[in-house]
């Protein structure tokens, strides 16, 4: 059955670039904006989505029991108390990886898509079986990367795999952006990364210490209505995903004198 549920894979190739943080914040933001949202932790080996959402003590059943049919879908779903539009489908035991197949992933995603407007799949790092399972149920994807050579290279591998799996659209989120370093050309610029990866930019997230504070507490920035720069970035990404037109700001192109000088220096002479 074809539903209108948007099933979005959040992936990066490289580990530690911010997949799980994006999944948690985006999930909360979409829920706040009125969409029924499920976040599915597809990282069975190293699950963490429960921890970032502060739901680690409320897990009773997981995706494993749902797939084994020893519990119903609703029993495994953990509803967020402060944001009831958001539910977590926890990852099962790492031993599941011995038998988990892409078909299993498709089954659980199609169950979720009957209940929710958005299903966000938090993909494991790497391009091996974990990725192949996670991609099986997805319709579209968000690739998240940092403006660093290793992260961009790995993102490129993943984009190739998404293309060959027929996943469309694929959009880019650039994470951990440091505007000052970009302005002094000591960090890959936003358009460098979008040009190299040839993906439309869904949004960028500036480097922000509050992200660490919020993960310490298990309260995503978007949940607590933080005024911090990263919180604004995440909620803009959610709104763009819903189809709102919110202009992208290039952090390296803000109107300082220093910036005007930098643009002069970049004038093509020949």
């Amino acid at each position: 059955m074809e539903s209108n549920t948007r099933i979005i894979l959040i992936c990066s190739g490289k580990g530690g670039v911010g997949k799980t943080t994006l999944t948690a914040n985006l999930g909360i933001a979409l829920a706040q904006q009125g969409s029924k949202t499920a976040v599915l932790d597809a990282d069975f080996g190293l699950r963490n989505l429960d921890l970032l959402l502060g739901l680690e003590n409320r897990i009773i059943y997981t995706a494993q029991e749902v797939l084994e049919e020893s519990c119903r879908l609703e029993q495994a779903l953990v509803k967020h108390k402060q944001e009831p539009n958001l539910s977590l489908m926890p990852a099962g035991n790492p031993r599941m990886l011995d038998w988990l197949k892409p078909d299993d992933m498709q089954r659980i995603v199609s169950m979720l898509s009957e209940e929710f407007d958005y299903v966000l799949i938090d993909c494991p790092a790497g391009v091996e079986d974990g990725f192949k399972n996670a991609v099986a149920g997805a319709k579209e994807a968000i690739v998240i990367t940092n403006p660093e050579v290793s992260a961009v290279r790995d993102a490129d591998r993943v984009i190739g795999l998404l293309n060959s799996n027929g996943i469309k659209p694929v959009q880019l989120v650039l994470n951990r952006v440091r505007p000052k370093m970009m302005a002094s050309q000591e960090m890959l610029a936003v358009e460098d990364v979008t040009d190299i990866l040839a993906l439309p930019l869904l949004g960028l997230v500036v480097e922000d210490e509050q992200v660490i504070v919020s993960t310490n507490r298990g309260e995503p920035l978007t949940l607590i209505g933080s005024k911090s720069p990263a919180a604004k970035c995440y909620s803009n990404i959610a709104r763009r995903l819903q189809g709102e037109e919110i202009p992208l700001i290039d952090p390296s192109k803000e109107g300082s004198i220093r910036e005007k000088f930098r643009r002069l220096m970049q004038t093509k002479i020949f």
Partner: protein
């Protein structure tokens, strides 16, 4: 070349690291995307030059075969300056004898 590049050149300063990152990425991704190691590319380059050299006299010093990538499309680009056609060269030799 930008104004910054010229000033850097005059002052013999290193170019910005973002530029270096961009160039290194473009090169490594061109190889990643077609799954071709530098050794294989070099072998292919030599074989292409051999084939071309059968038909035209080329400047082996100036010739370049490289991978270029734009918008996720990778192209094999060969730039081989031709000195002269071997057919004409043979004809020249026939005339002189």
């Amino acid at each position: 070349m930008t104004l910054r590049d010229i000033i850097n050149k005059l002052l013999r300063r290193q170019s910005s690291s973002a530029k270096t990152a961009r160039e290194r990425l473009q090169l490594v991704l061109a190889h990643d995307r077609c799954d071709l190691s530098p050794e294989l590319l070099d072998q292919m380059r030599r074989e292409i030059l051999e084939v071309v050299a059968k038909y035209v006299e080329i400047d082996l010093e100036e010739g370049a075969v490289s991978l270029e990538t734009e918008d996720r499309m990778t192209a094999l680009v060969a730039n081989l300056p031709i000195k002269r056609s071997l057919m004409n060269a043979e004809a020249d030799e026939v005339k002189t004898t």
